[in-house]
Amino acid sequence: MKRTDPRILVRRGYGEGPLHLVLMAASFALAAYAGVRLLAGDAFGVIVWFVGAALVHDLVLVPVYGAADRLLCRSAGRRPAAVNFVRVPAFLSGLLLLMWFPLITRKAVHYEPASGLSPDVFLGNWLLITAALFTVSALWLVVRTVRSRRRETNRRPSASH
């Protein structure tokens, strides 16, 4: 009688190796153990948050910033090298807004009464940081452009000779 290697049997029925199967089983068992506790309160709310976070990220956030980036690349047109001088400060500023919007937009209503600190500073600080980022980027671009132009004029043979 011909005996088949059990590893091949697993691969045929399961599609992946036996290590994969063991890891998945262990992972789901632990996730389920913690998961029933996570869902013990507002189960529906937690599921909405868990799955919703992934969906909002993949189907809203990524397409939105992807589209903004495409728009930026298209509007840069003939100067594709300049794209990053807008892309990087815009990314940094957007990242800060994404993370701290409850404070920046004063949505975090508990903050001031609990901490005794005014949340009014955050919008101003965010705008100042954004302005600083774009200013640094603009200066960098100007210096680079002037330098590369100078290099070009130096390389060009002068007409008077």
């Binding site: 399961y14 789901f28 996730a31 996570l38 990053n84 701290w100």
Partner: protein, 445 residues
Amino acid sequence: MGDSRRKSPTPRAFLSRLLPGRATAILRSRRAAAIRERLPSAPGFWRSPVRGVPFTAVLGLVLLGGITVLFVTGLLSYAAYNPDLNPVNDKTPDKGLLGFYLFAWPTGPHWLYRLTQGVHVTLGIVLVPVLLAKLWSVVPKLFALPPARSLGHALERLSLLLLVGGALFEFVTGLLNIQLDYLFPGSFYRLHFYGAWVFFAAFLAHAGLRVPQAVRVLRSGGLSGTVPGDPLESPAPAAPTLSRRGALAMVGAGSLVLLITSAGRSFDGPLRRLAALTPHGAAEPGSGPNGFQINKTAASVGLTTTDMGEGWRLTVSGPAGDLRFTRDQLLAMDQHSSALPIACVEGWSTSDQWWRGVRLKDLAALAGYPDGAPGLLVESVQRSGPFRRAALRDNQVDDPRSLLALGVNGEYLSLDHGYPARIIVPAAPGVLNTKWVSRLTFGEL
């Protein structure tokens, strides 16, 4: 980073005029193919030349280290509350085996919680751009068809939902909690703790399956190398506007900006002002000896000076019975000093403040435990709030630096810092340093 849609081929209209019946069918199938080409499930839809297994591998390895530190410091913070000591400290009584590692949280070094929780929150903030970039780098896989090639593949994709959903759930609940924006569906402690275990279960499986590949790819070709059959590399890349190295630098710049604008919330002075966008950064709530950071003001928990006026008494209970003290009687006892920080679960902390008051071990002796009390239940005048009662362990009560503080930095406590008396214990999380203390019960907990 440079995704742009592919132009569809022009339909061959002349064919339909030549051969009406068959041509329409061909055209229809061609049109369907053209539409399929323009869907995110088509490999050609994703055009950024930055994507590729080496790019994902670098971000993945950074997250492997970073998230491991987040998980460990998170578990330490959970242990620091001493949840197994008494139900009043325990927001997760159904934890079961997940509390397997719990231990008596030490009182030294006195900056221990300040360090572990500062690292937990600051590192979490700094890792956000790395996480977002990692998710961006693998997004074509989300739309890949067929949805499942085999049972194993289907399970892995389900596990990835726990991984991605779990990571975002943990980061979002953490970021909202430190901004005191309690939008999430339930108690932060439960959601963040159990959510962390669900996430970490998926994280371990993902690391087990992918880390060997990530290491192999980076060893063989480095960041700019090509991997044969790379599923993440675009088959029709757009003209590059940013190299992989440049994209990593951009992510790193994001982390650096976040580090600069948040790390200062673990220090006093100019460093805190530098933390210009983070809660408890930018400014101090006041000036002078009581001007340092406040977690909950008296007004926010509904307390006024009249609650703590002449009528205030401290009750000390133990085998010696119930003893009642006025503030003046406490001030007449032996006063001791401790230089200790306030370190909050939200990741901010103060430098060492100079507290002055009565040692907890001296009060334990009055209560009938001259050789050290087995534990202490502290109750606050505060009428509501999850930590209006807190339990301290024997090592915390016995530490000579643990005080019932009446003053700080050379003045009496302000109302917002717990006037007339508050607990201060080395290395304990902020909320266990109960303010506006009304009752101390020494004994078995």
